[in-house]
């Protein structure tokens, strides 16, 4: 089961009746209802990312569309029946496709069926001499009606694949190429060999987008600096044909071409500038009166074409990508960079509903990479909570593959163009999913004014939404929080910090007001502990909650969370431990250390010693709730990435056995996370109830759910959109085969020679570590005790 694909990798397309929205997402085309914004169905068949969706226009009952994909095929679908009618294999990845003849008004052809031609932007064929080519993309023509081979005509070769833009009536085809616009006139009667005429328009800045006017000869183009150029009457000279009637008089001279660069074929060029950064979205309204533009600011601007007057739809909250008009004039859709498609009414300029995909990872990840954590999973309900750019947490249902809701963590308005100053660095859910902890960091300005806030949330049992119960400013002074862990059964949480201490928080339930049963949860600090002032990077509760393990630099300290006593100190790893997790109900503790000598170690709690360890760079770990299995994502070294056709590998272990039970190779493992989920409740009706699924969320927040125990399901093919390297056939690799080939894996089965550090019977250790901040006897008693101890010393000296 897959999901989490980007909905905004290519422009969506409305069906003819305007009730359906076809969105290319990953390898399929998802069909959404515009009335409910829920997914109705999907067209499966492509083996790689879908790059364009073209609906065949016509009457409302016609439900056909063409799609192109990076797998090199063009398919023709009947999307009311969800079936593929025709498949054309071009063998080379297709980046963009337009079909002009669908748009031109169908002439009453005398019974003769016209050929349909598509223009595709595709990867160039590899030359025979294997020279690295400057141009990787070319624009070709392709006969869709009866395809035998690609037409010889190559319109243009470009260095990078460009998106093709077509005029609404299908006369012109344009691409942007750096500082130029290339526009072709499409011949009325197209054939394989018909050569289109071409003009080029120049500009001093790099173009980012272009669009054609629906009726007139106007092309609008946006550049990276936020200017919008409107060329009127382009191609008046070159596209002049004998049979064609032009309203305009022909050109009279150079002097009456204001704003047009030297020899460009356009009558005039005007420039509008409102956007502060690049224009991503340009579209004319269907009547051609308005021009819509949008950019990184997340503001949709409505320009009146004749006067240049502006209206705004602000606060969309994310950079805008595409704007698509529907046949129903009141409804349009905007695709945003944060994987949301908003369906909105132009007349009232309000967003009616949103199709929400999983939000992309934070772009600010690099700023605070060391302090931010991964997404949190709610194992029971199959939810994942991810941090979003707009200082919130999105709850995404992995089973339903849609965003459920978002909560705002930090009370700020998000502006996409602003510098990042506030980041939600951490989100953590309790095992039963009823409590959540978030950490937000305000970055200081030249060293002043930084702030770290810990927020603890409770799940409202009625609305199933989280509401904030406690806000703690600077829980560990100015030190960053490294981990949050929740007690599996009680209202207790622990936060550890790089500043060398951890705090245990307990939730106290207060019932206020006599009459009402108004419950008020508030969290309080229950205890503070530290171990030799070492930075604490991880914390975990055991499955029954009786033991708290906190990683203090390179050792693991075990505490009694109620009494705040140090029970034992375990072992030593070569580099600091960054993650701790108790393996299910078993007595094993898993530690992950990063750094120069990364290590994955399993510690036996009964012996307080290491059982086994691997030298692996581990990105994420997860363990099954009841069983003694755990899964890890290991990042592979660069040198052997090729061999596995992926940069990571998922390994499933039994805690008692260092030989992995299963393995899968995956791509984009960096920034990925993994979790065991309880089976989908809706699907469980007929199957056995104790089904456990493994969820893998990759660095781009696409995910896959699979059953790790199913022997047949060992085939896992993670092909990712945007990854242009062909990733087909990621076969399954038996671990033994990996193992044989990898001298890098250093198996250290040091079961016997581990460092024993039994339960410490010297309680003063806890004192010197400054623990036990609570439950002190009164000072008067202490004094006498203290003096007594001094006395003892003296007498011993005398003796």
């Amino acid at each position: 089961m897959r999901g989490g694909q980007s909905y905004v990798s290519c422009p969506p397309s409305f069906s003819n009746d305007g009730n359906r929205l076809l969105v290319g997402c990953g390898t399929s085309v998802a069909i959404f209802s515009t009335a409910t914004a829920l997914q109705v169905s999907s067209l499966e068949g492509h083996t790689s990312t879908v790059t364009s969706v073209v609906v065949v226009p016509g009457s409302k009952i016609l439900n056909y569309c063409w799609t192109s994909s990076l797998d090199g095929t063009i398919r023709y679908w009947d999307f009311s029946l969800f079936e593929c009618i025709k498949k054309i294999d071009l063998n080379l990845p297709i980046f963009s496709m337009v079909i002009p003849s669908l748009l031109s008004t169908p002439e009453e052809s005398s019974g003769k069926k016209k050929n349909v031609y598509a223009y595709v932007c595709m990867q160039t064929e590899n030359g025979k001499d294997n020279k690295p080519k400057l141009c990787t993309a070319q624009i070709r023509k392709c006969n869709l009606t009866n395809y035998n081979k690609l037409s010889k005509v190559t319109l243009k070769e470009t260095k990078r694949p460009q998106r093709l833009t077509i005029s609404p009536c299908g006369n012109f085809l344009g691409i942007k190429d750096k500082r130029k616009l290339h526009i072709w006139k499409i011949p009325k009667v197209d054939s394989d060999s018909a050569v289109s005429k071409k003009i080029t328009l120049h500009h001093t800045k790099t173009f980012s987008v272009l669009t054609f006017h629906p009726t007139e000869r106007i092309v609008a183009a946006g550049d990276v600096t936020g200017r919008i150029l409107i060329f009127r009457g382009f191609g008046a000279q070159n596209f002049q044909e004998n049979g064609e009637l032009l309203n305009r008089t022909s050109m009279t001279g150079e002097e009456c071409k204001p704003g047009v660069r030297q020899n460009d074929d356009a009558e005039s060029c005007s420039t509008w500038h409102w956007h502060s950064s690049g224009v991503n979205l340009l579209s004319f309204s269907s009547d051609g009166v308005y021009l819509y533009s949008g950019g990184k600011e997340g503001v949709l601007v409505f320009w009146q074409l004749d006067t240049g007057k502006k209206k705004f739809l602000p606060r969309i909250g994310s950079p805008l990508r595409y704007f698509i008009d529907s046949p129903d004039p009141s409804v349009s859709s905007i695709s945003c960079a944060d994987n949301q498609i908003h369906i909105f009414k132009i007349s009232s300029m309000e967003i009616m509903r949103s199709i929400s995909g999983i939000k992309p990872p934070l772009s600010s990840q690099d700023i605070c990479e060391s302090i931010s954590s991964q997404a949190a999973f709610d194992c029971t309900s199959g939810l994942v909570a991810v941090q979003t750019e707009n200082y919130g947490i999105q709850f995404y249902s992995l089973f339903a593959n849609r965003g459920l809701y978002e909560i705002q963590v930090c009370e700020r308005n998000y502006q996409p163009v602003d510098d990042v100053t506030v980041v939600v660095t951490m989100v953590e859910l309790s095992v039963d999913g009823s409590m959540m902890g978030t950490v937000e960091v305000k970055l200081p300005e030249e060293g002043i004014g930084g702030l770290i806030c810990l927020k603890l949330w409770d799940l409202d049992s009625d609305t199933k939404r989280f509401s904030m119960s406690t806000l703690i400013y600077e829980p560990h002074r100015d030190a960053h929080i490294s981990a949050i862990a929740f007690h599996p059964t009680r209202h207790m949480a622990v936060t550890s910090s790089y500043g060398g201490d951890f705090k245990i928080w307990v939730c106290r339930e207060e019932t206020q007001q006599k009459g009402q049963t108004h419950q008020n949860f508030s969290w309080m600090c229950h205890a503070v502990g530290s171990y030799k002032n070492k930075a604490m990077r991880a914390a975990a509760f055991s499955a029954d909650g009786s033991v708290l393990a906190v990683a203090a630099d390179t050792v693991i300290t075990l505490w009694d969370p109620d009494k705040n006593e140090l029970i034992a100190v375990v072992g030593e790893t070569p580099s600091p431990i960054g993650r701790l997790i108790f393996v299910g109900k078993s007595e094993n503790l898993l530690s992950v250390s990063h750094g120069s000598t990364p290590q994955l170690s399993v510690w036996s709690m009964s012996k307080l010693a290491a059982s086994w360890s691997y030298r692996l760079e581990i990105e994420a770990v997860s363990c099954a709730l009841d069983l003694s299995y755990f899964a890890v994502i290991a990042l592979l070294p660069k040198s052997i990435e090729r061999m596995f056709k992926g940069d990571g590998i998922i390994l499933v272990f039994n805690a008692t056995d260092p030989t992995p039970m299963a393995s899968w190779s995956v791509t984009k493992a960096k920034g990925g996370s993994i979790a065991f989920l309880k089976g989908n409740p809706s699907e469980l009706a007929d199957e056995k109830s104790s089904k456990t699924l493994l969820a893998y969320l990759n660095g781009d927040r696409e995910y896959v759910l699979f059953d790790p125990y199913d022997k047949e399901a060992r085939e896992l093919n993670m092909t990712m959109q945007g990854d242009l390297v062909g990733l087909e056939d990621n076969g399954q690799f038996g671990y033994t085969s990996i193992y044989g080939e990898l001298p890098v894996f250093d198996l250290k089965r040091n079961k016997a020679s581990s460092v024993f550090s039994g339960a410490s019977n010297r309680p003063w250790e806890t004192i010197f570590n400054g623990s036990s901040s609570h439950m002190l006897p009164p000072l008067t008693k202490l004094c006498s005790e203290f003096l007594e101890s001094l006395l003892e010393k003296k007498t011993s000296i005398i003796e």
Binding site: R315, G317, E350, I351, M352, R353, S354, Q408, E411, R412, N413, D418, D419, T421, V422, K442, L443, P444, E445, E446, G447, I448, G449, G450, L451, L471, Y473, E474, D478, S522, M524, P763, W764, T766, I767, F768, S771, S772, L776, P777, L779, L782, C783, E785, F786, S789
Partner: protein, 530 residues
């Protein structure tokens, strides 16, 4: 859902921590509902007494004068002057006469309304410290003084009927039984409280002796008449008189000598607590405490900035007067809600004379277009129960600095909050500017007057722990960035000096705290060993 997207987030100060202890109990709320006003006088207020009849005006003894106050307005209405310092004052139970003693040993009786001297009672040879009209007796008077004698007077004849000579030190206080006009108690510096009965003719034999353990400063009978409360030293003690002088409880929550006590009723409007009596005490430590002798608990405590020496509480529970040793009088008054019903009754009674019969034409007038109300019809209509209400979205009220921030006028916003009084807002705006990366820019653009404002703010708040993490860093930056401006201006230099001294003081505090920490930490270690 989309409404939620377009939200404005006003810049607010950080939340404050909730107190762990419960907020005010209803009782302490009641006691703090008295609004205090200060009436300055020059000399210590030794004695206060309330008139037992409404309107309960009160008298206080200040040096050689008796000041009479109206308890409604807390304003002085008249005064009576003496030849010597007045030590004690007492109303007769019908409030027509008032007795006062002075340090010359004279006890005088006045007509309260005409302020005319009626009797001179001259018998004490040393200063008289206490004089008291028994509760149910209009004819007699009790007095005691530094000659250790307690005298029982017949006021009409101005003659001592009885002289009790059991005390061995100065007699300072006394009180009569509320149930029996023949018994009274006196307290003396010989630590004893003696219960006297005028029917016992043996002048040196008291009915009962109670040893308080300290020089007794004040003594009162509780309303039941079976118990007395004595004050002396740091404690207030409760004794069971009927049970033979048994100590019931000793309240020791004052830190210095308790100087005066009195008994008062909680005049709550609600019925359940209105008849509960409390012992109120004041002491030289400046504390005013309320003691619930039913549950034996101190229910309210209040601090005044001067040693308190005398206390009075009005019988109608509306005013309370506390006298201090430096002459300041803290007179407090409670606001009472006038009962709506009562008010209504009074109003209707008042208007009943003038009431005209209501018009008979109660039938509804049909509105016509000539009537202006025709055009307003339906506007004041209230929704009925089953109606579905379409609520107008609540408008977010934006403060001045929010508006400025929304317009990106960062500098103006900063100045706007600096001119305001709330430091929380200032810090909140500063934090907002930090997250917009504009704070330092704003600081560098401030002109000199505004910079002065900022420096004054920093001087005041930079060591407050809540704000110091931001403000200390900012103070450093400000001084660094605006060094030239500061050097040029004398007023700014002054602010910098102030700032420096604040920081130095804070450093001293920190050092002493560290010393304390050094002392305590070994003890904590011992604690950990246990």
């Amino acid at each position: 859902m989309e409404e939620a997207r377009i939200k404005t987030f006003p810049v607010k100060p950080k939340l404050k921590t909730k107190p762990r202890t419960q907020q005010q109990t209803p009782e302490s709320k009641y006691w703090s509902s008295f609004k205090t006003q200060q009436i300055p006088k020059q000399f210590p207020i030794h004695s206060i007494d309330y008139s037992p009849t409404p309107p309960h005006s009160f008298v206080l003894a200040n040096s050689t004068t008796l000041h009479i106050f109206n308890s409604k307005t807390l304003s002085e209405t008249s005064q009576i002057t003496f030849k010597d310092t007045v030590s004690c004052v007492s109303f007769r139970n019908d409030a027509r006469l008032i007795a006062a003693s002075d340090l010359s040993g004279l006890v005088q009786v006045f007509d309260f309304n005409e302020r005319r001297r009626i009797r001179h009672l001259q018998s004490h040879t040393r200063p008289v410290r206490f004089v008291h009209y028994p509760r149910h007796d209009k004819l007699h008077l009790v007095s005691g003084g530094d000659d250790a004698l307690v005298k029982y007077w017949d006021v009409a004849e101005a003659k001592v009927i009885h002289q009790f000579n059991g005390h061995k030190d100065y007699v300072r206080c006394g009180h009569s039984s509320p149930v029996n006009s023949d018994t009274f108690v006196t307290g003396s510096y010989d630590h004893l409280v003696k219960l006297w009965d005028v029917r016992v003719r043996d002048s040196s034999k008291s009915a009962m002796d109670i040893n308080h353990g300290c020089p007794v400063e004040d003594v009162v009978f509780l309303p039941s008449g079976g118990m007395i409360a004595t004050a002396g030293g740091n404690s207030v003690k409760l004794w069971d008189v009927i049970g033979g002088g048994k100590l019931l409880y000793s309240m020791e929550s004052h830190n210095k000598t308790v100087t005066s006590i009195c008994v008062g009723r909680i005049g709550k409007d609600s019925v359940d607590e209105s008849n509960q009596y409390r012992i109120m005490s004041v002491g030289l430590d400046g504390y005013f405490k309320v003691f619930d002798y039913g549950s034996m608990k101190v229910t309210h405590s209040m601090r005044f900035p001067a040693p308190l020496v005398s206390l009075g509480y009005s019988p109608d529970c509306l005013t309370r007067v506390i006298g201090t040793s430096n002459g300041m009088i803290y007179a407090s008054k409670r606001k009472v809600k006038v009962d709506e019903n009562e008010k209504g009754i009074v109003a209707s009674e008042g208007s009943s004379i003038w009431r005209i019969r209501p018009l008979e034409s109660t039938e509804k007038k049909v509105l016509k277009t000539t009537d202006f109300r025709y055009f307003q019809r339906g506007q004041g209509e209230k929704p009925s129960e089953g109606d579905y209400l379409v609520m107008r979205p609540k408008k977010v009220k934006l403060t001045a600095h929010d508006k400025l921030l929304n317009k990106f006028r960062h500098g103006d916003a900063l100045v706007c909050v600096l001119e305001g009084k709330n430091p929380g807002h200032v810090v909140a705006v500063m934090e907002e500017l930090v997250s917009r990366k504009k704070l330092l820019r704003c600081v560098s653009d401030l002109d000199l007057e505004k910079l002065e404002l900022l420096l004054a703010f920093l001087h005041k708040y930079c060591t407050v722990p809540k704000y110091s993490s931001l403000l200390m860093g900012l103070a450093n930056k400000v001084i660094e960035m605006r060094a030239d401006d500061i050097r040029a201006s004398e007023t700014l230099k002054k602010h910098i000096r102030n700032l420096k001294s604040t920081v130095e003081a804070e450093i001293r505090i920190q050092q002493s705290l560290q010393e304390i920490q050094g002392i305590i930490s070994p003890l904590l270690r011992i604690a950990g060993r246990r």
